[in-house]
Symmetry: none
DNA sequence: GTGGTCTAGACCACC
DNA sequence: GTGGTCTAGACCACA
């Protein structure tokens, strides 16, 4: 796995695991690789993977069983979708609209683009 | 002025000055506040403002007269609009639409939000 | 049985067995399930149950007959009650009261909660 | 500062800072020592202090200004009190009451103890 | 084996 | 100077 230097590695792993869960690569209650395994796979230090797993746990996307590993939450997909939708509506949408107004771009471009 | 901690302050000032130029707060060839003044206004170290002014100068949005200060370029608005519209239509719009499709968000939210 | 991840599982099993003895689920000199059986029941590795049984044996709450299994001590209830009451009154009660005072919580919450 | 080996150091620092805020050692919007300073003071690695600060930030007890340091939230005291009260009522009270019932301890001990 | 904590040391962007 | 990220390596309790 190769990383973009402008973004923390642990965030990039975070994004990629969320994507893989959404894509169905990891099923609910399935065990995901240990921090050591995953670190070896993508070529980063286990500590860095740990940080990703901590964040995903805080989100409620995965959970941990002591001494056994990390598992995908049963409702992981819903949690991810819900978080993203919320963040889009509350944070991104306002700033996008604001910019479009300043740039004089009409909202109809979205309808047009959607149909393609 | 209050800042978002996830973005460099000098970029946030950069954005805000560009917005103010688009909004007409600063007219072409008008002098903008010195780094010291501006820093005091927004509660920030002059060094940080300096960094903003350097970036705006590199963009061609403002220019400097030695010993006199910084001035808005005659064609500042056009420069900003040109760059931003292009980048918006080519880069941002596609990724936004893509995300919205994944999240199942309807393009009509834009029309709705615009009216507010 | 579902476990709280902040506490070792063998301790949680330990607590639960003590509770069951106090509640009369296990009578004095009655045989308790083998580590294998108990592990299967609660979905845990026999090693983990073993650790619990060792601790209970050290406490004098159960005893072992070689080749036959583990049995509840005749005076198990008394041992548990004795230890716990003392430790509760001397150690826990003072710190609980102290915290409640700091947090401004009235002792009446206990009377209220008891009735439920 | 000397630490209890049974508890993570970063949690012990976390507790101690919360206590100091409640005690008024750190005022609202006051800057707290940098991770390096604090680490040197209590004799731990800055990374460990960082972990404490991250947790306090997640709680809303402190906030960070980029490149400048960490500051006590204006409503830090209220946040701490509220969190503690909630955790007491939801987590501790039920388990305490449960144990008292098993041990046959009457809730009146609290009223008695409070008056001392 | 697993997660979890901690250290020492490094490098970066930002202020 | 500050926070923030990352590595390498260590040690521990737990399963």
């Amino acid at each position: 796995m190769d990383f973009d230097n402008n973004k923390p590695i642990y965030i990039q792993i975070y994004d990629s695991i969320r994507d893989r869960i959404l894509a169905g690569d990891f099923a609910p209650d399935e065990r995901i690789p240990s921090v050591r395994e995953y670190g070896a796979m993508v070529g980063v230090n286990p500590n860095t993977v740990m940080r990703t797993y901590e964040k995903l746990t805080a989100d409620g996307v995965i959970y941990t069983k002591r001494g056994m590993g990390y598992y995908v939450s049963p409702n992981a997909k819903e949690v991810i979708m819900e978080n993203d939708r919320k963040s889009f509506m509350e944070n991104e949408l306002p700033t996008i609209v604001n910019r479009m107004k300043l740039l004089g771009i009409d909202p109809s471009v979205f309808n047009d683009y959607f149909e393609k």
